[in-house]
């Protein structure tokens, strides 16, 4: 699939007959789009400028889109603090493990359900779909994890969400598009269901596998509420929760003393640098992976 959803291209003939009014309309539309683009980009630019400015210029309100009193002090502090670098490394490890586990579970669940002959398929489907519409709630989950002894264990950030029904349905819908004749001929040649999965289905599903892996990875990278609720051990806090705690320290003085700074303005540039520190990894991978994301967005529209 193309990297962008192509909308009807204007043909040369329609372009020729465009009136002046239509052309003015085109530019008004382009202008509105430009404003929306700026609304997306300027906040990033502002926070970047804050992170690179001097604390003094920042608290005087002199920093808008360009750094004032350029310095890298805030980044030096962030990068020399083991807390930040460890949380970055840990979140990468956690995201990799989670994505691997979730993808395995998704494939193992979706593939058998594409066999029409599978006895009990309808019942299993119904039981799985039911969980999408009705869930027990946060507290029952919390108490279950407590009884299982998973609270405050690193596994609590992987296992409770190891399978998304929504993603499983996308996977299954894609498997359905693979012609049954391929599978039948492999069956005649004596291939087992597992061999058919590994040799035929997975190689043919690479784009959707990439898309779903990215969905899981983004969900894990961006998630903080499960760690907030189920994980008290700060060592295993993912980067988003660390960021949340730093941004929500009651006053800037508190951050300043906690982080060992004296100037209160410093904590503001530090907050800006911390936000950039957590944002940059996403911004770095986004342009390269966006085509997979967009494939996924339209796949999500596939109905049962």
């Amino acid at each position: 699939m193309a990297s962008h959803v192509e909308v009807r291209e204007l043909t040369p003939t329609t372009r020729k007959v465009k009136s002046r009014g239509t052309r003015i309309g085109d530019f008004v539309i382009a202008l509105i789009c430009l404003l929306i683009v700026l609304a997306c980009l300027l906040p990033m630019l502002h926070v970047l400028a804050r992170s690179l400015s001097s604390a003094d210029a920042l608290i005087r309100g002199r920093v808008s889109l360009w750094p004032v009193g350029f310095n890298l002090q805030a980044y030096q502090l962030v990068l020399s603090d083991a807390k930040y670098t460890w949380s970055l490394v840990w979140t990468i490890i956690l995201t990799a493990i989670y994505t691997g586990v979730a993808m395995t579970m998704t494939i193992l669940c979706a593939y058998p359900l594409t066999y029409d002959k599978l006895v009990g398929r309808r019942l299993i489907n119904a039981l799985i779909l039911f969980t999408m519409y009705f869930n027990a709630g946060t507290i029952p989950m919390y108490l279950l994890l407590k009884d299982l002894g998973l609270l405050n264990k690193p596994a609590v950030l992987v296992i409770p969400n190891a399978l998304s029904v929504f993603n499983m349905i996308i996977m299954r819908s894609f498997f359905y598009t693979i012609p049954a004749s391929l599978r039948e001929s492999a069956e005649i040649d004596g291939a087992s269901p597992f061999q058919i999965l590994v040799r035929i289905y997975l190689p043919l599903s690479k784009p959707v596998l990439a898309t779903l892996a990215l969905f899981y990875a983004v969900a894990r990278w961006n998630g903080y509420s499960d760690a907030l609720m189920f994980m008290n051990n700060r060592t295993y806090h993912p980067i988003q929760l660390l960021l949340f705690n730093i941004l929500n320290a009651v006053t800037s003085i508190e951050v300043a003393t906690q982080e060992g700074f004296v100037t209160p303005g410093m904590s503001e540039t530090l907050k800006a640098a911390t936000v950039m520190f957590a944002t940059v990894p996403i911004l770095l991978v986004y342009p390269w992976l966006q085509k997979y994301f967009i494939t996924g967005a339209t796949l999500g529209a596939i109905k049962e």
């Binding site: 959803v5 192509e6 909308v7 009807r8 291209e9 309309g25 085109d26 539309i29 789009c33 929306i36 683009v37 997306c40 906040p43 502002h46 804050r50 608290i59 005087r60 309100g61 889109l65 579970m105 193992l108 058998p112 359900l113 066999y115 599978l118 299993i124 039981l127 969980t131 519409y133 869930n135 027990a136 709630g137 946060t138 507290i139 029952p140 108490l143 299982l148 399978l163 069956e187 087992s192 597992f194 961006n222 998630g223 907030l228 609720m229 988003q240 949340f244 941004l247 503001e268 907050k271 800006a272 936000v275 957590a278 944002t279 996403i282 966006q290 967005a297 339209t298 529209a301 109905k303």
Partner: protein, 313 residues
């Protein structure tokens, strides 16, 4: 019984299993997952009707008063819960009112944009906020909307306006909350409409042009009817979630000054349950919310079908 044990039948079952047993083996882990993490928690729902005790199993705990409905009664006489219920409905309704039509309008706008390269650039940039977490967005918002030092208030001050307390005054907080929702999802949610737009037959536009239709008339009579089924389906899904409550967004954006409007059901359950240890009360609240959500979803679906639309299922 006799037919069940007939040798031919057994042979059939054995042949079936000899080939397909591995499918069940593959399903083992996923099914265990659903059983443990999706169905067993449902048995814990009983806690909503019982007096919670740390030292007893769910089955041994004594029943709550009012035939078990004590905690539901208590929730509905709790000021914070009623406040959370009101806020959840209010914020979801505003999201529906503003956040639902916004991507439709944006898709129509992109569809009319004739500069292809600029269009691609616009799409790339506007999809990006979807991949930022609410913590990051809250971090950006706190800085961009800061009363003295933030970009927006600097701009307002230069234009001669007073600074606006976007995140610390309840009314402004609600507006900012809704705006940030649009900011995050405008581009991404437009993709599905753009995909629907590609399905419209180009001959319809040609026919409209021959009839002398202008831009607005083409949008009104060709484009919008073309994406109507998509709009209805998504509207049902959104209506069904009017009482659902996201945790990440309000919790990341909230602060002590705006508690009266930022307290929603999800954050209420977290504060009273996991931090306040009132498990029976908060399980009751969660159950109330889940049940109402299911009812809303079915109702919205039935409504759509009644008016001749496709529905979600």
């Amino acid at each position: 019984m006799a037919t069940l044990l007939a040798p031919r039948r057994i042979r059939k079952v054995v042949n079936y299993l000899r080939y397909y047993w591995s499918l069940y083996l593959m399903l083992l882990l996923p099914l265990l997952y659903f059983a443990i993490f999706r169905y067993i928690p449902m048995s814990y729902i009983l806690i909503a009707f019982k007096k919670y005790s740390l030292f007893q199993s769910v089955w041994e705990m004594p029943w709550a008063d009012h035939w078990g409905f004590e905690y539901f009664v208590r929730a509905f006489s709790n000021r914070d819960f009623l406040n959370a219920l009101r806020n959840t409905l209010m914020l979801n309704f505003l999201d529906l009112l503003v956040g639902f039509p916004a991507p439709i309008l944006f898709a129509l706008l992109l569809n009319e944009l004739p500069f292809m390269r600029f269009k691609r650039f616009t799409q790339t940039v506007t999809y990006m906020p979807h991949f930022l977490s609410w913590v990051i967005i809250a971090g950006l918002a706190v800085q961009v909307f800061a009363p003295q030092t933030g970009l927006v208030n600097i701009a307002l001050r230069r234009m001669g306006f007073d600074p606006i307390p976007f995140l610390t005054e309840p009314g402004w907080w609600v507006a900012t909350y809704v705006f940030l929702g649009v900011w995050k999802s405008l581009g991404w949610n437009s993709i599905i409409y753009l995909a629907a737009l590609t399905g419209i037959n180009p001959e319809l536009y040609e026919a409209a042009e021959i009839d002398g239709a202008n831009r607005w008339q083409k949008i009104r009579y060709v484009t919008i009817p073309g994406i109507r089924p998509t709009i209805i389906t998504l509207l049902i899904l959104n209506l069904g979630q009017i009482l659902s409550s996201d945790f990440d967004r309000p919790y990341a954006l909230s602060n002590a000054l705006v508690y009266d409007v930022s307290n929603v059901l999800a954050t209420y359950v977290y504060t009273y349950g996991i931090r306040g240890l009132q498990f029976s009360l908060t399980t009751a609240v969660g159950l109330f919310q889940s049940v109402v959500c299911v009812i809303f979803l079915f109702a919205a679906n039935a409504l759509a079908k009644r008016y001749g639309e496709r529905g979600v299922w």
